[in-house]
C-alpha cells in the first residue's frame, strides 16, 4: 500500500504536467515520466513482465516516437496556445468533469471493500507464454498482422506518394513477412 500511496500522486502530477504545460516537448517528457512511474508501479505490484513491457514499449518506443515527432514538426508558438487557454479550458472542463463525476460515482458504488491481498498472485513467464499461445493464439496472430500492417503503412507514409514503387514495395514486404506460423516445441 505504501508504494501505492507514494506513486499515485507522482503519476498524477506528471500527467497533469503533461496536460498542462504549454511547451510541447516538456509535456511529452512529462508523459514519459508518468509512463515510467506507471511501469514502476507495475513492478511493485508483482506484474514484472508487464512492467518491463511497459518500460520498453511505452517509454522506450512511444514516448520516444512522440518526442521525435515533436522535434520534426517543431511547434513553436506557445503564445497562441496560452492565449486560447482560458476559453478552451473552460469548455474542456465542462465536457470532462461530468465524465469524472460519473467515473467516481461508479467507483464509489462498486464493491471495492475487497481485500488488499497480501500475497501477490505472481505468475511465471512460462504460464503467460502458454496462455498466449494456446488459448489466445488468434489474438496474437491478429496483433501480428496489425503490427505488420502498421509497419508497412508507416513506412509508406514516411516514403511519400509514389504509386507504382509503393505498391511493389508493399507487395514484397507483405510476402516476406506474412508466413503461416509454426508452433515451436517448448
Amino acid at each position: 500500500m505504501t508504494p501505492l500511496l507514494i506513486l499515485s500522486p507522482l503519476i498524477l502530477l506528471a500527467a497533469l504536467g503533461a496536460v498542462w504545460l504549454a511547451r510541447p516537448v516538456h509535456a511529452a517528457l512529462l508523459l514519459a515520466l508518468a509512463l515510467a512511474l506507471t511501469a514502476v508501479f507495475y513492478l511493485t505490484i508483482g506484474a514484472d513482465f508487464i512492467g518491463l513491457v511497459q518500460f520498453m514499449v511505452y517509454v522506450g518506443a512511444i514516448a520516444v516516437l512522440i518526442v521525435f515527432s515533436l522535434l520534426i514538426t517543431r511547434p513553436g508558438d506557445e503564445a497562441e496556445e496560452l492565449a486560447r487557454r482560458p476559453r478552451s479550458l473552460v469548455t474542456g472542463l465542462a465536457c470532462t468533469l461530468p465524465v469524472l463525476a460519473v467515473l467516481l460515482y461508479s467507483v464509489s458504488r462498486s464493491g471495492t471493500a475487497e481485500s488488499g491481498a497480501a500475497d501477490s498472485p505472481a505468475f511465471t513467464l512460462e504460464q503467460l507464454g502458454t496462455a498466449l499461445f494456446t488459448t489466445h493464439v488468434p489474438a496474437v496472430m491478429a496483433v501480428g498482422v496489425l503490427l505488420t500492417a502498421v509497419m508497412i503503412g508507416a513506412a509508406l507514409f514516411a516514403r511519400g506518394a509514389h504509386a507504382s514503387s509503393v505498391s511493389r514495395y508493399a507487395s514484397c514486404v507483405t510476402e516476406a513477412t506474412i508466413k503461416p506460423p509454426t508452433l515451436s516445441d517448448p
Binding site: T91, C95, T96, V99, Y105, S106
Partner: protein, 680 residues
C-alpha cells in the same frame, strides 16, 4: 300469252318500281364525271319497267268473271304481337293504266333530258333523282296498301324537292323547293291523319285483301256504320282528310301556291313531275280510294267537296293564267286548272272520265312543257313571252308539236284527245245530281283555257320577233325532237279510245266489256254537249285571236287586255294575292316567332352562357392559382425550409475533431448519468 304471264305477275310486278329505284341507288354512288353511264342506267331501268308495265297492261285486258281484272299481292312487313302490318301491290286497270303511262312518258322525257341537260355539270345526279322519282311514283300507283302508298307519296315529294331545287345556287330555286315541300306537307299531315283513322276503325290498310280490304264491301259498310263529329261517317271524315292530302299534292286551291314556283326546276322536271305524274298522284289517290269517298251512296259530302274544290280551282287558275307572262308559268297554272277539271270529274262520279283526262293530260302537258323547253333552249334561256315572237319560221318542228299540244289542251274538236276527255268531264258534271255549279264553273274554265293557250301561241310563235337577241333562235337537236313527236302522236291517238262511240278506255277502267257504237254519238244529249264544247272552243280561240292578232313589236308594251281590264288585270297577274295572303297570315307570324326566339337566344341565353363560361374560367384560374400558391408553393416552401434548416444544421459540422470529441464526451456522460439515475 297473257295467261302464261299471269302466274308470274306477283313477282314480276315488284320489278316495275324496283328497277328505277335500284338505278337511282347505283347512280348515287357514281362519281359526277360518269354522267353518261348514269343516264344509260336510268333509261335502261325505266325501259325495263316500261316493258313489264305494258305486259301487265295486256294481262288486265281480259276481264275475268265479268268484273275487271284484279290481282292483289301482299306480304307481311312486320308484326307487333298478333297484329301484322302488310304491304303489297295490286294490278287492276287503274294501276296498269297509270303504270304504263308513267313509264312511257317518263322514258321519253328521259331521252329528251339527254339533250336538254347536256351542258349541266350535275348531269348524272339529275338522272339519279329522276330514277328515284320514277320508282317512287310507280310504287304509288301500284300499291295495294295505303301505308305503302303514303311512304311512296313522301318519297315522291322528296324527289320533287330535290329536283325543284336542282339549281340550288339560285336562291329562288331553293325557296321554291322549300315552299313546295312545306305546302304539300300540310296536305300530307291530313293524309296521315285520315290513314290512321281508317286503320283504327277497320284494322287494315290494304286496299284489296280477299274481302277484308279497305275498298271491299265488308270494311266499307262497317266504316259507314260509325258516325263521328258533325254527323259525318268515319268513311266520309277520313275521305275528307285524304282529299286534303290530294289537294296538297295536286295543287288545288288553297294549297296550289307551290306549283307555279316549282317552275324554277329544269324543264324536263316540270314536264315529268309537275305536269304529267306527281301532281296526278293526288287525283290518282282520290280515284283509288273512290269507294271510300262514295261510301253511303249518292252524293256524299267528300264527293261534293271534291267537285266544288275542283271547279273553283279550275276557274281560278284559268283566270290567273290569262295575265301571266312567263311561258312556263302559264303552263303551270294551266296544269292547276286541268287538275281542277279532274277533281270535278271525280267528285261528280266520273272516275273513268277523270282517269282518261289524266292520261291524256299527261301526254299533251308533257308535250307542251317539252316544247316550251325547246323554245327556251332555242331562245338562249329566254322565258318571257313578251320578248319572243315569230318563232314559227325559226323553229318549225317545235311549232308543230307545240301546236298539237295546244290544240289538245284547248279541246280542238274531234281529232285530239283533249276534246273528248273534257267533253266526258263536262258530261259527268252536267248529269250530277248534286248541283249545276261545278258544271258552269268548269265550262267557263274550259273557255278561258282555249283563250289563254291561243294567246300564248300567238305571242310566242306569230308576229314579228320582238327581242333583238332572239333574232337567231335555232331548232333543237333530234334527241329532243323525237320525244316530242312520240308524245304528240300519243296525244292524238288517245282520242281514239275515248270517244262516246267507242268508250274503250272508260269501260276497261270500269271492267265492262267494250262495245263499238257510233250511234252513241248521235244521241241528243251527246250532241248537245258536243255542240257546247265546240262553242266553247270557238269562242275562246276566236276571242284570243281578235285581241292578240297583231301583237305590238315593242316587248315593253302593256298587254292589250290590260287596258280593257285595268285593275282586275293586276289582281290576276298577282295570282289573286294568294301568295301575299299566305305571306302575311302565316309566314309573317312564323317569321316573327322565329325572330323572337332568335333574339331570346342571342340576348339572353348567349350572355348567360358567356357569364357561365366566365365564371368557370374564373374558377379555373382561381383553382390554378390556389394550386400554384397552396400546393406548389407550400411544397416548395417546405422544401426550402428544410433546405435552410439543413444548411443551418450542417453549419454545426465545423470540421474540427476536437469539437466532435467534446460533444461525444458530454453526450456519453449524460447518457451514463441517465443510466445511473434510472437504474437507481
Amino acid at each position: 300469252m297473257a295467261e302464261a304471264l299471269i302466274p308470274h305477275l306477283p313477282c314480276l310486278l315488284w320489278w316495275v318500281p324496283a328497277l328505277p329505284l335500284l338505278a337511282g341507288a347505283v347512280i348515287a354512288f357514281l362519281p359526277n364525271r360518269r354522267g353518261r353511264l348514269a343516264a344509260r342506267l336510268a333509261i335502261g331501268a325505266l325501259f325495263g319497267s316500261c316493258l313489264i308495265a305494258l305486259a301487265a297492261l295486256i294481262c288486265t285486258l281480259a276481264p275475268a268473271h265479268g268484273e275487271s281484272f284484279r290481282l292483289a299481292t301482299s306480304l307481311t312487313w312486320f308484326t307487333f304481337g298478333e297484329v301484322a302490318l302488310k304491304v303489297g301491290l295490286v294490278l287492276d286497270p287503274l294501276s296498269a293504266a297509270m303504270a304504263a303511262m308513267v313509264t312511257f312518258v317518263a322514258f321519253w322525257i328521259f331521252i329528251y333530258s339527254i339533250g336538254y341537260m347536256e351542258t349541266e355539270a350535275r348531269f348524272g345526279r339529275f338522272f339519279g333523282f329522276l330514277s328515284l322519282f320514277c320508282g317512287a311514283m310507280l310504287l304509288v300507283v301500284l300499291s295495294n296498301s295505303l301505308l305503302l302508298l303514303f311512304m311512296a307519296w313522301e318519297l315522291v315529294g322528296l324527289a320533287s324537292y330535290m329536283l325543284i331545287g336542282f339549281y340550288f345556287e339560285k336562291p329562288a330555286a331553293a325557296a321554291a323547293a322549300q315552299k313546295a315541300f312545306i305546302t304539300t306537307r300540310v296536305g300530307d299531315m291530313a293524309f296521315f291523319l285520315g290513314m290512321i283513322w281508317l286503320y283504327r276503325q277497320s284494322g287494315t290498310l290494304l286496299f284489296f285483301d280477299d274481302g277484308k280490304g279497305l275498298l271491299e264491301s265488308g270494311v266499307l259498310t262497317s266504316l259507314a256504320g260509325v258516325t263521328t263529329l258533325g254527323g259525318l261517317t268515319v268513311s266520309a271524315a277520313a275521305a275528307l282528310l285524304l282529299l286534303v292530302g290530294a289537294m296538297g299534292k295536286s295543287g288545288q286551291v288553297p294549297l296550289h301556291t307551290w306549283l307555279p314556283d316549282a317552275m324554277e326546276g329544269p324543264t324536263p322536271v316540270s314536264a315529268l313531275i309537275h305536269a304529267a305524274t306527281m301532281v296526278a298522284a293526288g287525283v290518282f289517290l282520290v280515284a283509288r280510294t273512290h269507294p271510300i269517298f262514295a261510301n253511303g251512296g249518292g252524293v256524299t259530302t267528300p264527293l261534293t267537296a271534291a267537285a266544288w274544290i275542283g271547279a273553283i280551282t279550275a276557274l281560278y287558275a284559268a283566270l290567273v293564267a290569262l295575265a301571266q307572262t312567263d311561258i312556263k308559268r302559264i303552263l303551270a297554272y294551266s296544269t292547276v286548272s286541268q287538275l281542277g277539271f279532274m277533281m270535278v270529274a271525280l267528285g261528280t262520279g266520273g272516275v273513268a272520265a277523270a282517269m282518261f283526262h289524266l292520261i291524256a293530260h299527261a301526254f299533251f302537258k308533257a308535250l307542251l312543257f317539252l316544247s316550251a323547253g325547246s323554245v327556251i333552249h332555242g331562245c338562249h334561256e329566254e322565258q318571257d313571252i313578251r320578248r319572243m315572237g315569230g318563232l314559227r319560221a325559226a323553229m318549225p318542228k317545235t311549232f308543230v308539236t307545240y301546236a298539237v299540244g295546244m290544240m289538245a289542251l284547248s279541246g280542238f274538236p274531234f281529232v285530239f284527245s283533249g276534246f273528248w276527255s273534257k267533253e266526258a268531264i263536262l258530261h259527268s258534271a252536267q248529269i250530277w245530281p248534286g248541283g249545276y255549279g261545278p258544271f258552269l264553273l268548269a265550262a267557263a274554265a274550259a273557255l278561258l283555257t282555249a283563250f289563254y293557250m291561243t294567246r300564248q301561241a300567238l305571242l310566242v310563235f306569230f308576229g314579228a320577233p320582238r327581242k333583238p337577241g332572239v333574232s337567231h333562235p335555232h331548232e333543237s337537236p333530234s334527241v329532243m325532237l323525237v320525244p316530242l313527236y312520240v308524245l304528240a302522236a300519243g296525244a292524238v291517238l288517245l282520242a281514239l279510245v275515248g270517244t262516246p262511240a267507242w268508250p274503250w278506255f272508260e269501260e276497261w277502267i270500269r271492267g265492262e266489256p267494250a262495245h263499238f257504237d257510233p250511234a252513241a254519238l248521235m244521241q241528243p244529249a251527246a250532241l248537245k254537249l258536243i255542240g257546247l264544247s265546240l262553242a266553247i272552243v270557238t269562242l275562246g280561240v276566236g276571242a284570243a285571236w281578235q285581241v292578240y292578232r297583231n301583237p305590238s313589236s315593242d316587248s315593253r308594251a302593256p298587254d292589250p287586255l290590260a287596258g280593257k281590264l285595268g285593275g282586275v288585270w293586276n289582281f290576276l297577274e298577282r295570282a289573286m294575292g294568294f301568295d301575299a295572303l299566305y305571306e302575311k297570315a302565316i309566314i309573317g307570324p312564323l317569321a316573327f316567332f322565329a325572330g323572337a326566339i332568335d333574339a331570346l337566344e342571342r340576348q339572353i341565353f348567349v350572355p348567360l352562357m358567356a357569364v357561365g363560361e366566365s365564371c368557370i374560367k374564373r374558377f379555373g384560374r382561381w383553382t390554378g392559382l390556389s394550386d400554384e400558391a397552396g400546393l406548389n408553393g407550400g411544397f416548395d416552401s417546405l422544401c426550402c425550409g428544410l433546405q435552410n434548416r439543413a444548411a443551418s444544421a450542417s453549419r454545426s459540422q465545423v470540421g474540427r475533431a476536437q469539437g466532435y470529441l467534446r460533444a461525444i464526451g458530454l453526450g456519453m456522460s449524460v447518457l451514463l448519468i441517465l443510466y445511473f439515475w434510472l437504474s437507481a
